[in-house]
């Protein structure tokens, strides 16, 4: 099957590897069990990239053993880059540079747009179209309006045609900061973590479509916890 042309009509259930045994349709996403949540977005993401032998996945959160094992056992190759932490370290370094720069040295404070461009000079440095799937988690909720479009643009260049980006968006500022760890093909664990970024914005549907306009299709799941899981296919 040509995985680049892999699409599913709206409302259709995903095809199963076992003929005659269709997989169940979307379940109530966001139904939490302790710190875990059901993720229909993850299930759909895995279905989209499932046909690629030894595909490459980019995890933009901190790498966890369970997430790594999950993809490795399925034959994927994993790259990891904790973008939020890298952004925080970058901003900290920039503030230190401004603080220690001699007066009149010409090192003016960079604009948000210039900051984002400078950040991307070292972040997300991979070959073009080298990933079949990207796990962006909820990082876009924490980037300012200048940085988020640049990161999406970079991701778009990194994703292979037909590849997918899974992103989570909170409908209201999250009560606490979490990182995400995959438990299984449909469950994600929310790992409480010390806050490294402040919730920057709540995206409206139109804003999401504009942000990911370079992707050819999108699909969303809204959970009971009011978290929107969005899949963008290049």
């Amino acid at each position: 099957m040509n995985w680049m042309a892999k699409t599913r009509p709206a409302g259709a259930v995903p095809a199963s590897a076992a003929p005659g045994k269709p997989t169940p349709g979307p379940v109530a996403s966001g139904a939490a069990n302790g710190n875990s949540r059901v993720s229909n977005g993850l299930k759909e993401f895995l279905w989209l990239i499932g046909d690629v032998p030894r595909g490459r996945v980019l995890d933009l959160g901190p790498i966890y053993q369970s997430t790594l094992n999950f993809f490795v056992e399925k034959g994927y190759r994993v790259s990891s880059e904790d973008i939020l932490r890298a952004w925080k370290d970058f901003l900290t370094a920039e503030e230190e540079r401004l603080r220690t720069a001699p007066v009149g040295d010409g090192w003016d404070k960079l604009s948000p747009s210039a900051l984002a461009a400078k950040f991307l000079e070292n972040a997300l440095q991979y070959q073009a179209e080298s990933f079949h799937g990207v796990l962006a988690w909820d990082l876009f909720d924490y980037f300012d309006p200048e940085a988020a479009p640049r990161i999406v643009e970079r991701l778009s260049s990194l994703v292979h045609p037909g590849g997918a980006v899974l992103a989570l968006f909170h409908s209201r500022p999250a009560e606490r900061f979490h990182r995400y760890r995959i438990i299984d093909k449909q469950n994600v664990e929310l790992v409480p973590a010390s806050t490294i970024a402040v919730h920057a914005r709540v995206f409206q549907n139109r804003e999401l479509l504009d942000l990911f306009s370079s992707f050819r299709s999108s699909k969303s799941f809204v959970g009971r916890d009011q978290v929107r899981e969005a899949l963008f296919v290049k």
Binding site: P62, I63, Y64, Q65, L68, V72, E73, G75, R77, V78, S79, S80, E81, D82, R85, A86, N122, A123, L124, Q125, Y126, Q127, S130
Partner: protein, 188 residues
């Protein structure tokens, strides 16, 4: 009823000699080489974290030492200083201690990281990243262990065999030729 601590109740049964504990011949679990004692640091240098002495068959690069170049050999290597270049100990293990800062390609049987490493790692058996580790580069290893808190940035590549009994196949990523300085870059 109340017995003195060292008094043994007389028994009619003859004493049966208790055999000494027999150690089972289990394969010892792999553990990184124990770190050596940290050398006293100069006032201008941050005090290195205290570590336990290493076994005598481990080569040590202690905190405060800086080496630039290629390191090769067959002995296990414990690094708690600064190393830049290449490390090729394909039949031995390399441990980067919590004070270690390495900017190098590492080719070893086992690799364990507790400090900071920047470069391409290739382990023929396994690699492990501790909670205090900070890594940027690529890792190619049949087995990878990552403790919570490890800070990894880069490519992780492992191949598992189809049969769960067989050890995972080591895949040499010959096409990966990332310069240690090109952190996060992918030239595949």
């Amino acid at each position: 009823m109340w017995r003195k601590p060292n008094e043994v109740k007389p028994s009619s049964q003859p004493e049966i000699p208790v055999p000494a504990a027999v150690k089972s011949e289990e394969p010892k679990p792999w553990a990184p080489a124990a770190p050596p004692q940290a050398a006293p640091a100069a006032k201008s240098v941050p005090e290195p974290r205290a570590v336990a002495p290493a076994p005598s068959n481990v080569s040590r690069i202690s905190a405060g030492l800086k080496i630039q170049g290629e390191i090769s050999g067959t002995a296990d290597l414990y690094i708690d200083g600064d190393v830049q270049g290449k490390i090729r100990v394909s039949s031995a293990s390399v441990t980067v201690g919590p004070n270690g800062r390495v900017q190098a390609e590492i080719d070893a049987r086992q690799i364990s990281v507790e400090g900071s490493v920047q470069g391409n790692l290739k382990a023929s058996e396994r690699s492990h990243f501790g909670a205090s580790s900070k890594f940027a580069g690529s890792v190619s290893s049949p087995r990878i262990g990552i403790d919570d808190g490890a800070n990894l940035r880069g490519k992780i590549e492992t191949v598992r065999s189809a049969s769960p009994e067989k050890p995972a196949k080591f895949e040499a990523s010959e096409s990966d030729n990332l310069h240690p300085a090109a952190v996060g870059a992918d030239s595949e």
